[in-house]
């Protein structure tokens, strides 16, 4: 119980300054798109296209027949299945400044993630949040499914 709490606290306080960092640099690109896929950026929702640039704080939405795949700057890859809502809450990859972090929030749907250089720089820097728990990923491949989550 206490270990869980400590771990959660550790995850939450982990210094991932990018939440407040500059949003001007793209952090990845869409490499596969099937069916309806949208990017929610601020209040604006745009239909996704191939090689579209992804920025931190973007939310990716796929329709009932939609799916998409992203390659990030650190060569990690993420793919989303149908009816998925995924927010890139934080992303930082700068070796010279020793900054590395990846925080994703999946509210509904399915995802598959394969880690890249961020995990090599800092094994504790990658996590995915769902409505029920937080997964800390140490250099590997992970799949998550969230059913009956956020339906907005």
């Amino acid at each position: 119980m206490y270990r869980g709490l400590l771990f959660l606290l550790f995850l939450l306080t982990y210094n991932c300054a990018s939440v407040f960092g500059a949003d001007s640099d793209s952090v990845g690109r869409l490499k596969t798109i099937n069916g309806p896929v949208y990017i929610l950026r601020g209040a604006e929702q745009t239909a996704a296209y191939l090689d579209m640039r992804i920025f931190r704080n973007d939310t990716l939405l796929t329709g009932k027949q939609g799916s998409t795949g992203i390659v990030f700057n650190d060569n990690s890859t993420l793919s989303l299945g149908p009816d998925t809502k995924f927010q890139l809450a934080s992303y930082e990859f700068n070796a010279l400044e020793k900054k590395a972090c990846f925080v994703g929030r999946i509210r509904r749907g399915t995802m598959v993630y394969l880690s890249g250089l961020i995990a090599r720089m800092n094994a504790e820097a990658t996590r995915f949040e769902t409505p029920a728990a937080v997964a800390g990923v140490r250099g590997t491949k992970l799949a998550i499914k969230v059913e009956g989550g956020d339906n907005e």
Binding site: M1, R3, G4, L5, F7, L8, L9, L12, T13, N15, A17, V19, F20, K31, T32, N34, D51, S67, T68, G69, V71, N73, N75, T77, S79, L80, G81, P82, A95, L96, K98, R108, T110, M111, V112, L114, S115, L117, R120, M121, E129, T130, P131, A132, A133, V134, A135, G136, V137, R138, G139, T140, K141, L142, A143, I144, K145, E147, G148, D150
Partner: protein, 202 residues
């Protein structure tokens, strides 16, 4: 507000966000890495935490107070059905080329020079407009010098690609200095395998 204060503030806000408390099901499955490298995943919430370390080990949770207990091994066929579309949408893994340099310079080794045309052919074949070029150095010399040499190495490759007809806007150039060595060495030790440019075609 400085960054530290902001972080503290976020650490107070985030738990409230996490406890959205709608009833839903979260399924986590650890997969075998393609490179055979053994990673692991820790799944944690208010009630506890659990480690997944074996391929297809999975845990199912329904709300933040649901204590993660014993993980189960998911069958590969069930996994492939559950994640069918997401698996099919996985991007092709980016292809990385390594180019090596003479010590302290941005001059390619003769062997690496021969690889450049191969890289160009590949870029044309896959019609890539997303190429990352990152310069690296070994740990001989000061930090500043190594950052500069790394940048010169990356720029040198970017220039050569551009001369060979690759669109400059397709290239993203970065300098990593000694921060991401392929081979770990002590300070001051020459290591030819770290004097490199990693060119990734995405």
């Amino acid at each position: 507000m400085n960054n530290h204060a902001r972080c503290l503030l976020m650490s107070l806000i985030l738990p409230a966000v996490l406890c959205g408390c709608s009833s839903s099901r979260s399924l986590f499955v650890l997969l075998p890495s393609p490179d055979g490298h053994a990673g692991n995943v820790t799944v944690a919430n208010k009630a506890g935490e659990i480690h997944l370390s074996r391929p297809f080990e999975s845990i199912d949770l329904f709300y933040p107070e649901d204590r993660p207990t014993k993980p189960v091994i998911m069958s590969e066929s069930e996994f492939n059905t559950t994640f069918k579309e997401a698996l099919a949408a996985q991007p092709t893994a980016p292809l990385t080329f390594l180019l090596y340099f003479e010590q302290g310079t941005s001059r390619l080794t003769p062997e690496s020079e021969k690889i450049l045309p191969v890289i160009i052919d590949y870029i044309r074949k896959v019609h890539s407009s997303d190429i990352s070029i990152s310069g690296h150095s070994d740990k001989v010399g000061s930090r500043d010098i190594n950052i500069r040499i790394s940048r010169e190495r990356a720029n040198e490759i970017a220039n050569q690609l551009t001369r060979m007809g690759v669109a400059p806007e397709s290239l993203e150039v970065a300098s990593h200095g000694t921060e991401l060595p392929l081979i770990d060495t002590p300070e001051g030790v020459p290591e030819p395998r770290n004097r490199r440019v990693e060119l990734v075609v995405r």
